[in-house]
């Protein structure tokens, strides 16, 4: 039986009627039309469905929508502000850290969750933070270099 819940996504509260078995990923994509969050494996291995919940990166495919009521959720659609891409998004484009783009939303959100708490991460910290995000195009190096470059001392705007 469907239940009406309130989901807080990118600062906006949405009322959604969900079945208990519906994942947060499905609620985002099908009920709210936020298709930037991707489904890859559906089992928590690939990280395409990564969103930020209360400041922490999580796999939205492994969370029930009904269990997400009261949490603050940020999806890739919530990164740009006033039509301006987030500096990390712009850097991914500028440095060609994106090829097919399927992993990019999850990759960016994992990176953002890291740099929100660790403003100047080391390469190892970056690699560990994105270990749960699989990319089949870039070989990771460009992604890691982009995040590293963007968070190097002097680039404070990234975690604004």
């Amino acid at each position: 039986m469907k239940k009406l819940i309130a989901l807080t996504v990118n600062g906006q509260v949405h009322e959604v009627a969900v079945e208990p078995r519906q994942t947060l990923l499905d609620a985002l994509r099908y009920d709210l039309g936020l298709t930037g969050t991707k489904e890859g494996c559906g089992t928590g291995n690939c990280g395409s469905c990564t969103v930020i919940m209360d400041g922490k990166a999580i796999n939205s495919c492994l969370v029930l929508a009904i269990d997400s009521e009261g949490n603050n959720i940020t999806t890739i659609e919530g990164l740009a502000q006033d039509g301006q891409l987030h500096p990390l998004q712009q850097a991914f484009i500028d440095e060609s850290a994106i090829q097919c783009g399927f992993c990019a939303p999850g990759m960016l959100l994992s990176a953002k969750a890291l740099i929100d708490v660790n403003h100047h991460p080391t390469e190892i910290e970056i690699r560990q933070a994105i270990a749960g995000n699989i990319c089949r195009c870039t070989g990771y190096d460009k992604i890691v270099r982009t995040i590293l470059k963007q968070t190097a001392t002097g680039k404070e705007q990234c975690h604004a």
Binding site: P20, G44, G47, M53, I58, V63, I66, S110, G132
Partner: protein
């Protein structure tokens, strides 16, 4: 996933009565294992009882004598707790290896043991530290040593009307140290082909007063290598003794062949991991080990 009822318990007593009232229900904490099982139809509960809002299951505290880890505390929170890193380092090592950041942000300490995967990373460390499971049942509570908790792949000794409240870990004595290592084809996000935890306590003269070696993915449950441990207890340690203990641990392993590795490979790799973890634990304990109380 088949349809089910979602019930959120606000207290321990409410969770226990929901467990009694609902047939074929499952307890839901982080969901990183259960939801995967439900998607695959390996688990088809009629109800999921969410235990994340229960106060007792969210305890994370070190009181000097023991570390108390509520069953629903996410792994990321445990490894970020300084006392865990400083005083229970082997547990910190093991829990840091579980899943990814995303999985550790949701997955819980309780889930990692209640799922009873023979290859799980935290049980060898918990066995090394002499941890206990605090289990609540119908008007009762029991405390079991971790050795008695597991019954087989996916099976624990808990009955259908019981739930895990917390894991209690006694503070390691001075001059002790532990080390956990696992072997996986991929460094991150993989399941152990073999996992070994070693824990040594030395006295002032450097003699080993207690040795624990625990192995994952080597039997239907996590197991200790009792004979190998006995070969170290009471001795002044050296590399030869550690090598012999590692060989003995490998003989005590009862691995199987599966898609991840053959029995023969597992038996070989567990010897290597036992030697490496024992050597690391010995060096760390000789250097002073964990801080004393």
């Amino acid at each position: 996933m088949i349809d089910f009822q979602y019930l959120s318990a606000r207290s321990l007593s409410e969770a226990l009565s929901l467990l009694r009232e609902t047939k074929h229900s499952r307890l839901l904490a982080g969901g990183t294992d259960l939801i995967v099982q439900m998607k695959d139809r390996r688990a088809n509960p009629s109800a999921c009882i969410d235990v994340k809002k229960i106060q007792e299951l969210n305890r994370l505290e070190w009181d000097g004598n023991s570390l108390h880890i509520g069953a629903a505390v996410p792994l990321a929170k445990i490894i970020a707790f300084n006392e865990v890193k400083n005083r229970f380092n082997i547990l910190y090592q093991a829990m840091s290896l579980i899943g990814s950041v995303q999985v550790r942000n949701r997955g819980t300490a309780g889930g990692n043991i209640c799922n009873a995967a023979p290859s799980a990373d935290s049980p060898p460390a918990l066995l090394c530290l002499g941890a206990r499971a605090v289990i609540a049942g119908n008007n009762s509570q029991r405390i079991l040593p971790m050795e008695k908790f597991f019954r087989g792949p996916g099976k624990t000794v808990m009955t259908a009307d019981e739930l895990l409240v917390e894991i209690e870990v006694p503070t390691p004595p001075p001059h002790s140290a532990g080390c956990y290592m696992r072997h996986t084809p991929r460094e991150e996000m993989d399941i152990a082909v073999a996992g070994v935890g070693s824990f040594l306590v030395l006295d002032e003269t450097g003699r080993c007063t207690q040795a624990r070696i625990a192995m994952g993915a080597m039997a239907p449950t996590p197991i200790r290598a009792i004979e190998a441990e006995a070969g170290l207890t009471g001795k002044v340690l050296n590399h030869d003794l550690l090598e012999k203990a590692a060989e003995q641990a490998s003989l005590e392993a009862r691995p199987i062949s599966d898609l991840r590795a053959s029995m023969e490979y597992r038996r070989e790799i567990v010897k290597v991991l036992a030697r490496r973890t024992l050597t690391n634990a010995w060096q760390a304990a000789s250097a002073g080990g964990v801080k004393s109380k």
